[in-house]
Point group: C2
Chain length 274, copies 2
Amino acid sequence: MIAFGDRLKSVVDAHGRLCLGIDPHTSLLELWGLSNDAEGARALALRALDAAHGRVGIVKPQAAFFERFGAAGYAALEEVIRTARDGGFLVIADVKRGDIGSTAAAYGEAWLAPGSPLEADAMTAVAYQGLGSLDPVIELALQHGKGVFVLTATSNPEGREVQQSVSGSGRSVAGQLARDVAVRNASARGWGSIGVVIGATEPITASGIDPVLLQHTPVLGPGFGYQGSRLSALDSVYGVASSSVIPTVTRSVLSAGPEGLAAALDAHRAELDA
Amino acid sequence: MIAFGDRLKSVVDAHGRLCLGIDPHTSLLELWGLSNDAEGARALALRALDAAHGRVGIVKPQAAFFERFGAAGYAALEEVIRTARDGGFLVIADVKRGDIGSTAAAYGEAWLAPGSPLEADAMTAVAYQGLGSLDPVIELALQHGKGVFVLTATSNPEGREVQQSVSGSGRSVAGQLARDVAVRNASARGWGSIGVVIGATEPITASGIDPVLLQHTPVLGPGFGYQGSRLSALDSVYGVASSSVIPTVTRSVLSAGPEGLAAALDAHRAELDA
């Protein structure tokens, strides 16, 4: 079994580190001329995978936009994840799940257990109940070569009231969480399998996160291209951690419509290479 | 349209305030002699609803235990929620979803929008990205007479590292969140429609939560009977907020097996009345 961190590194070496977010929300389905239902979400996602082939190696479907269609939406999501994995993509399920004990374990089973209908390669998770509450998810992930990205710092201003609070160590909540995740990757030679999600429009040090800690920790960076972050600003935002960042583009690509997807992805790749 | 807080109060007045959690996890399905699949989860949940009729007015299915079966699990969950609501139960979907912007809105659509396949009466939500990040969910809830219970303090020890961190106001993260939710219920005459989740095995003041603030704020209290909290200890744990608490029993009831459910519920009701 190959650890997720190593799988992620291989995919990045082969295809670059850009990640395509797949968020079939109402306004995009409308823009694409698709129905606002599970079939529309499925069609948008599969078309996005087509355009992504050979351009990116990592995709990140957002569960919320499928969940709103209930079981039918999840049937579409199952197909999207399966198609992506069969096509060689590494799939990060953006689900931001979190709970304790057997409930946390059940979320891990849902998204990471081999053979689960929704089996992805990694999932995002929330640690409002402490990083330790995610242990059942993390253990399951490590056991099966999967990854977990823990939501750490987000770029929305309301996030500060929790993330910038001061923990017992004197660090910010975000800074402490980043450090605790990094500790779990300490024995990895390259990237560990537990990542963080840090969406930043300003230097991450402003969130109390020490980028030096993150050199073995993959950093999922959402919202590039649309939410105000530029791919060309990676170094200034993430500092020495910038080489660990998987930047994600979503709306700036999907809003180019089915015919413009490939060109939008190519433009982002060029911006990242520059 | 009747506000969720008022609907909740009516149900409590008619049936008492005990809530039955519905968590079809692997070991319970085994105990019940059911298959560990969507059909087993469905059978356990529907049987639990049968036993709950006339005994409790509120049920709380846990999405994780259905999500692990993918679309088939969600089809079962759709049926469980619909059956419960058709049977007059008030349904709180325990999903602990949270995100920002249009993604948060999509989670609200999924669980609270009238006509959604998974439409419940209320959902639980996580505010790691700040209470303001849940505004799209809260607005949708208020518009449709639905409720949102924001995860505030949890009884697992690892939760303290985030929930007991000190926010800019000098309050704990949990205390500040409880206060911010209470502010949103300030204009309610009885209960407001935005609740908090406070799982406590010790007085909630130890989490920095002022119970006086919560007199118009419904408090969902999970884990009674099994996780170490006794229904008879409501007053000592929640103080003056104890009259706002919806205590939830789950495993202590479900582990009584299909034949013992009703008696276990009756015993909890008696304990609560004592």
